[in-house]
């Protein structure tokens, strides 16, 4: 648990191209310490945005939080995630039990941003744990130790969810949803997506534009077995493969057509779309 990558330490600026005013809104929300909810389809840049904002708010700051080792603690939520996993638990070490903070508690103590990715995947009772952190109280009650932990002044809670593909069974409770400033993300325009693809992969602008166009056209088929279309992330993968010497059509085949669907005819149609769009 103590080995953190340089990415999580945010030693370099995570590149992010703003789509609208989300950077200003997030900064204003942080100033007021308002928790933030990010909504959007998979691979559209939610996580990158949080990383970028953490870098801006911590590494670019004049305050002491600049030196916080881990400014961003990310938890990928899953259906077995319990409140204990977030808050902490007693571990048996040697002959004694030792309390171990969970990622949420660590962020609350240290004043980091805690990012709960795909929050609706977690068990519904789990999400209630964050309620007292998201209103004026800003406290985390730790039931097991009897501690009522006041949040560090720099602490901020950010959650994300994908309203598209998740089962409606896993919708966010209104009592949770209505505690957050909500920022909606979507796939960017072709021009912006092309810029992102070119930057992330290093391919020429012309190819990046064509790949962005492929993304737009493939998203027109989203009702055929894949509900979200192709993510910006997958387009970047295709570009990265092309930059690595793979023929662009083949790169699109493995990174896009085969990644988004198992339906052979849809794959073939995507292949034909790629074929006519690429030079």
């Amino acid at each position: 648990m103590d080995s953190h990558s340089s990415a999580s330490r945010l030693t370099a600026e995570p590149w992010y191209l703003p789509l609208a005013d989300e950077v200003q809104i997030f900064e204003a929300a942080y100033q007021a310490r308002l928790p933030v909810l990010l909504k959007g389809p998979t691979g559209c840049g939610k996580t990158r945005f949080v990383e970028h904002m953490a870098w801006r708010l911590y590494r670019q700051s004049d305050s002491a939080r600049r030196y916080l080792e881990l400014p961003l603690l990310t938890v990928a939520c899953h259906e077995d995630l319990t409140a204990t996993d977030l808050v902490g638990r007693y571990l048996l070490t040697g002959n004694e039990t030792v309390w171990m903070d969970g990622p949420l508690t660590r962020a609350v103590r240290s004043g980091a941003i805690c990012y709960l990715d795909e929050i609706v995947e977690a068990r519904k009772d789990t999400t209630v744990v964050v309620h007292s952190l998201t209103d004026h109280r800003r406290v985390l009650p730790i039931e097991k130790t009897g501690e009522l932990l006041d949040a560090h002044p720099d602490f901020l809670l950010v959650i994300s969810y994908n309203p598209g593909y998740q089962s409606v069974l896993k919708d966010l409770k209104p009592s949770t949803r209505q505690r957050f400033v909500s920022l909606a993300f979507d796939y960017p325009s072709i021009e912006i997506e092309a810029t992102i693809i070119a930057h992330e992969s290093g391919v020429a602008t012309a190819l990046a534009q064509r790949l962005a166009l492929v993304g737009e056209k493939v998203r027109n088929l989203r009702e055929h077995g894949f509900e979200e279309g192709v993510s910006t992330r997958l387009l970047i993968y295709a570009a990265q493969l092309a930059a690595g010497g793979i023929e662009p059509r083949r790169a699109c085949d493995v990174a896009i057509a085969r990644a988004v669907t198992d339906d052979a005819e849809v794959q073939k149609a995507i292949g034909a779309i790629v074929d006519v769009l690429l030079p």
């Binding site: 077995d80 204990t84 996993d85 007693y90 048996l92 002959n95 089962s167 005819e265 006519v276 769009l277």
Partner: protein, 663 residues
């Protein structure tokens, strides 16, 4: 590359083999669903009878013009790209009829405009789809090779043909080498304007007018006066004897017909798509709106639209959303006669039901108060405890004290300690997702004897059919005039009551469930109404949505089952149940060879139920059709259906079936 006269069959590409692929290809590129249809012609000349309506793409039954299969497939792709080209490049926004109608030589203008517009579309295809360059060049070269010799033509026709051949990729110099009064270079220059990026359909129109003005110099006779009223576009394409009698100096419709490029086809725009954006020509036309155009717009007596299959009904749903249309999904259908699936055959439109009858559930509760209590009690008896503690897990909320003591003992005695030391609280839930699929066909409108309803209204109301007559199902309604003011209870009303009771009971049980209705009108318009989806909370809106279920049209059951299965597939539950409530056999006007082809629908439904079984979904058919035994036993196993003789017993039977299936 070489046009082939005797292409082996292995290289021939058949439309039916690639229909779904082309449909997906077209939808992806156009960004909208386009109905890809076959026209019963063969090869690339099939475009000759093409009528474009902006909603469908028409393609030949097969193409074998090239020796390589890949190239024949490429010709299909080009045909799709060209027809999408007209759509996305704004051709449909142009008022062709008005444009031609104001010109003195409409047949000539039509041919020149079509040639230039095709040049514009081809140039746009090359810009938009550079990867299609090879296919397009190959097709154009093939078409060019088939063009007639210019030298044998009269001057005007020769010039238009030269322009046409230039548009197909013929070199400029050899064409210009033939002298037609030095007009060709100017014509080509005027036309080439439309090949630049950003050229609009109005640029094509302007270039066509300029070229026609030049060509006018070659006519020795003045043009006829423009017709006051144009009956249809066909006037321009139909050979006209009086025109032909004018002699060599006239450019007659038959001259125009000789200059038609088969692959490109005749540009006949469906009138429904003409007035989307007003350009200068469209505006000009509006000033001279003719009665004939009015007739075309309402779709009567228009030869140009006669071959266009009627699109989906404009208001097929009960309640259309405020913005955007309903989502649609394509499903295969089992063709019992051919013993094969028809790929992407049915289009299912999914639509939320919305209603305003918020008093519906009150009525249900009062009508079935005893039954409701009974069902609730039965269901609560099978409800599991809400939480359970799972001991000795590797991960959990708290330490398991017994486990910890044992682990410490093990350690002190030098043994390996078990790491499963936690207790976790898991919700002990019934892991069931159930979908109820209700027949909303027109036959559910038939009234049924409901003593209660009649009693509630007027005691002296005329009698409804006797309970054992079965007439409420398939006929005889008019023979039993219903009570004028009594709330007539219909088959659909009982179905709704039964489902409302199920909702109440399932709330007690905590199972995840959804309630859908289905109907439709033809394979392209299967309606799938969502009253309550999985995970929707049971609110007043849900009850109102349920109340809004009304008798609609046909019963294309297979497609509805397949769509319900796709929804169930997304549910995480361990047990999935699909309960179908119907009042008759599956039928639709194109469900089989004709409406009387019952076997087709029955076999498709049987197939869909087999698909359910393969997907691990437990299905069950409840029908209130007394004749249900006859076909249900061919659709599903005996343990998987129930025929209810007394329709009023449906609510009770439905809950019984559900308990049996899931406990």
């Amino acid at each position: 590359m070489t046009p082939a006269s005797g292409v082996p069959d292995a290289q021939r590409v058949h439309f039916t083999d690639i229909q779904r692929f082309l449909s997906l290809f077209a939808q992806g590129l156009a960004g909208t669903f386009l109905h890809v249809k076959v026209i019963e012609t063969h090869g690339m000349g099939a475009g000759a009878s093409r009528i474009m309506d902006g909603k469908s793409i028409r393609l030949p039954a097969d193409i074998a013009d090239f020796t390589a299969q890949q190239h024949n497939l490429g010709a299909y792709r080009v045909a799709v790209l060209r027809q999408i080209g007209y759509l996305v490049e704004g051709t449909f926004e142009f008022d062709l009829a008005g444009f031609l109608g104001r010109h003195t030589r409409p047949a000539l203008l039509r041919r020149v405009f079509a040639t230039i517009e095709d040049m514009r579309i081809d140039a746009a295809i090359l810009r938009r789809y550079p990867g299609a360059c090879g296919d397009l060049d190959r097709v154009l070269a093939y078409v060019l090779a088939k063009r007639p010799r210019i030298s044998a033509m009269r001057p005007v026709s020769a010039l238009v043909e030269a322009l046409l051949q230039y548009s197909l990729g013929a070199a400029r110099a050899p064409l210009q080498a033939q002298d037609w009064g030095g007009l060709l270079p100017g014509m080509i220059d005027a036309a080439a304007v439309v090949q630049r990026d950003g050229a609009q359909v109005h640029d094509s129109a302007r270039a066509a007018l300029d070229i026609c003005a030049e060509l006018e110099k070659l006519f020795r006779r003045p043009p006829r006066s423009p017709p006051l009223f144009l009956s249809t576009l066909e006037e321009f394409t139909r050979p006209n004897e009086s025109n032909e009698a004018l002699g060599d100096e006239e450019f007659s419709p038959s001259d125009a017909a000789g200059l038609l490029v088969e692959f490109r086809g005749e540009l006949i725009l469906d009138s429904a798509f003409k007035h989307r954006a007003g350009g200068q020509f469209a505006t000009a036309l509006q000033e001279t709106q003719s009665p004939a155009r009015g007739r075309m717009a309402d779709g009567t007596g228009d030869a140009a639209t006669a071959g266009v299959e009627s699109p989906r009904s404009s208001a097929p749903m009960l309640h259309l959303p405020a913005s955007g249309g309903p989502r649609s999904f394509l499903y295969d259908e089992w063709n019992f006669h051919e013993q094969s699936y028809l790929a992407a055959w049915c289009r299912v439109y999914e639509q939320r039901l919305r209603g305003d009858d918020f008093g519906f559930i009150g009525g249900v509760r009062s009508r079935h108060s005893t039954l409701l209590k009974q069902v609730r009690r039965q269901f609560s008896s099978i409800k599991p405890q809400s939480w359970q503690r799972v001991r000795r897990t590797s991960d959990g909320d708290e330490l398991d004290l017994d486990g910890v003591i044992e682990a410490v003992i093990d350690r002190r005695t030098g043994h390996d300690a078990d790491s499963h030391l936690y207790v976790r609280r898991d919700r002990a839930r019934r892991d069931v997702s159930a979908a109820f699929l209700v027949d909303m066909s027109a036959s559910t409108d038939f009234p049924l004897p409901d003593a209660g309803a009649i009693k509630d209204a007027h005691a002296d109301a005329p009698a409804t059919p006797p309970p054992d007559s079965g007439l409420y199902l398939y006929g005889g309604q008019e023979e039993f005039p219903a009570a004028r003011s009594a709330p007539k209870r219909r088959v659909i009303d009982v179905s709704k009551d039964a489902l409302a009771l199920m909702c109440e009971a399932l709330q007690t049980l905590g199972d995840s469930y959804a309630i859908y209705g289905f109907s439709g009108d033809g394979r392209q318009n299967v309606e799938f109404h969502v009253a309550k989806d999985f995970g929707d909370k049971l609110t007043a809106r849900t009850w109102a949505a349920l109340a809004a279920m009304q008798p609609r049209r046909s019963t294309r059951m297979g497609a509805a089952i397949r769509h319900a299965l796709s929804k169930l597939a997304r549910e995480p539950a361990g047990m999935k149940v699909l309960i179908i409530v119907s009042d008759g056999y599956p039928e639709d006007h194109d469900y089989g060879a004709d409406r009387t082809d019952r076997e087709y629908g029955i076999q498709d439904t049987a197939r869909a139920l087999q698909e359910a079984e393969r997907a691990g979904v437990v299905d069950f058919c409840l029908t209130i059709d007394p004749a249900g035994q006859d076909y249900l036993r061919r659709m599903c196993a005996e343990s998987r259906y129930l025929v209810i003789d007394d329709v009023t017993a449906l609510p009770r039977e439905l809950s019984k079936v559900y308990r049996t299936l899931t406990s």
